[in-house]
Symmetry: C2
Subunit: 389 residues, 2 copies
């Protein structure tokens, strides 16, 4: 674990959690409850994948009124492409959790991550739930960040103070990562008092520049979910300040997801400026982050920048090639439509770093975006060639 050392005072008030092994696949932590002592304002964003998981379907129903009191998450099985039975299984789990916690089933948001197309071992989960209320603790959030992992190599957890108010956020995700209007799984808990509508607006803005700006492999998961709960126990908060902190937190976690991308050895940041608008800038940035040719060159520490030019040239949007400039950090490889002075040796040295920054200027338009990804290594192939077998 790269993180650690959080004390009780660094967590938001009134939240408890518990993670245990329900035996879904092996003997690691695979089932987690995040619980607020009081009903909390809540906002969420979900995957746009049309084969979304059963928990996403049920989660959308339960968040509709803007309130939640618990999140029930299992790893090791995504409960996706499981038909009508998958939906029934998810409802059984949320009902059992609600009964155990003496709350309304509609205030429980279910979430699942793991293999697709395998029925959820629902009996194992239902067996694990009774008695779980007594296992809830106030200092377990960091352990929960570990329990929701799949191929992640370390938990992603951050916490921030703003006066009386605390925001704690966890995320998981390592492969099948190109979130679209949401991320893999991220749960953000705060004790600030904020109305659901405002919460949803802030979450949407933060997610656009963080989780939705990350891609490991261009595959949008069927289970992407980010949930923000605000139980109000720490009172009012300066909304502008809260939004800034929330966005920073989401960006930090999003970068962790890219850095910990399956098999990744380097975090890649692409800054696009001078585009016609933000959407174009983001699309071009994402295409660089997703190009297997660019990704393997970065893995190989090979300054083969022609592949970046080719990827930009494939944009659906019109690019004025004569005004394009590209640099690695501050070393230009292409300037105003023509190759820059050859600095391959310097670039090869730069590429030995574990954080690669590519800057692309498309001209003098107002559109800009920053996106994050990672390189493509032998280990990505290994991890994904052997996932279910």
């Amino acid at each position: 674990m790269k993180l650690g050392g959080f004390s009780l005072s660094t967590f938001p008030k009134g939240y408890k959690s518990c993670s245990l092994n329900a035996g879904i696949k092996d003997d690691t932590l695979d089932f987690t409850i995040l619980f607020s002592e009081v009903r909390a304002s809540a906002a969420a964003m979900f995957t746009k994948n049309q084969f979304c998981g059963a928990p996403v379907v049920v989660g959308k129903e339960h968040i509709a009124d803007g309130y939640l009191q618990a999140i029930a998450v299992n790893s090791k099985n995504a409960n996706v492409a499981t038909g009508e039975k998958g939906l029934e299984d998810t409802r059984k789990v949320t009902e059992a959790v609600a009964q155990e916690l003496s709350i309304d089933p509609k205030d429980v948001l279910p979430s699942s991550t793991g293999v697709i197309g395998v029925p959820l071992p629902v009996e194992k989960i239902l067996t694990a739930i009774p008695g779980l209320k007594n296992k809830l603790t106030e200092d377990g959030l960091e352990q929960s960040a570990k329990a929701i992992m799949t191929t992640d190599t370390y938990p992603k957890f951050r916490t921030r103070k703003m006066g009386n108010v605390t925001i704690s956020a966890m995320a998981k995700g390592s492969g099948m990562i190109e979130p679209n209007m949401a991320t893999m799984l991220s749960y953000i808990l705060t004790d600030a008092a904020i109305e659901p509508a405002q919460l949803q607006k802030m979450l949407k803005k933060a997610v656009d520049v963080s989780f939705n700006s990350v891609s490991v492999d261009g595959d949008t998961s069927t289970s992407d979910t980010v949930v923000l709960m605000a139980n109000g126990l720490a009172g009012e908060v300066n909304v502008t300040e809260f939004e800034t902190v929330l966005t920073d937190l989401c960006i930090e976690l999003a970068k962790e997801i890219a850095r910990d991308g399956e098999g990744a050895t380097k975090l890649v940041e692409v800054q696009v400026t001078g585009a016609d608008d933000h959407t174009v800038a983001k699309k071009i940035g994402k295409s660089i982050i997703n190009s297997p040719l660019v990704k393997t060159a970065i893995f190989g520490e090979d300054p083969n920048w022609g592949r970046i030019m080719s990827t930009i040239g494939n944009s659906e949007d019109k690019v004025n090639t004569a005004s394009v400039s590209v640099s690695f950090a501050d070393v230009y490889v292409f300037k105003n439509g023509a190759p820059a002075e050859d600095k391959r040796a310097e670039l090869a040295e730069y590429l030995k770093t574990d954080e690669v920054l590519i800057k692309i200027s498309l001209g003098d338009g107002p559109g800009a975006a920053t996106v994050w990804g990672c390189d493509l290594s032998y280990d990505y192939v290994k991890i994904n060639g052997e996932y279910t077998t």
Copy 2:
């Protein structure tokens, strides 16, 4: 070389070729001339990449009148992202070739493939051209198919007879392969008599279902070019029959490109049926072929079919998930919106084959498409991590 044994009589009349080493990068064959004794009707399709190579720009000018007499190809350097100097270099090469062959420079189509962003070593090529006319032979086409290779592991060459008429076709391509309205490089020579306009129409149709239905890594090259020359020396031909043979030839070569994709161990064919139209079917087929998660699972011979469902679900087009069926060859994994009987053991056995067929039925729409690709292996990462260094 997997192919071979072609005799002079299997080549179209009136074409000569020559391949030699001009010393562009190392001592392998890197410069090729394909020459017709008489001016030939010609059709061509080029990449849509906005950073297209200098030879593509000049090639478009030279094919504009519908006639060509020679194609001059170099490998090891793409002459892309090389600015104004790149265009001048290409024109110098076509002019020198035209002078050597005593033909109009406008009847020479230039073509380059290799690294992007490195100036063409034009002096080396210009030095190699004088005296080249005497080296032209009538039986060298297969050697030319070898000379245009970059990371290909074997030459791609096919020839077909239709009565008096012969069509010979070569192609190269192994990485940066997702042709868009053209392929990497393919040159098709025939002695049939066909007008340029008709030739272009036939080529466009054939390319759509062949080269433009292949993807190795989703990256459309800056150099994609397919050229069809018809010098008429064998006389008239049944146009319908010719079109069928041309299309078959293009499909065979396209499949070879996928089979020989960088690092590939398996050819993957995806057949999509029941879509609203051909475009939707092709887009969904391509998304499966390009998913790194699907590709690595196939490399690992892991029947992790949930990744196919996830990829279908990410389609921009509306999918009626309840009517989707998916099979590997004839073994269903998903039928009418629900998982089929679990046959993972049988599937694992099937995946040991070196040609994997995935069939996707989206419903009862009229749209269908077949696309080809390959798996994603350790060797793809190795080849592309070490390309220029």
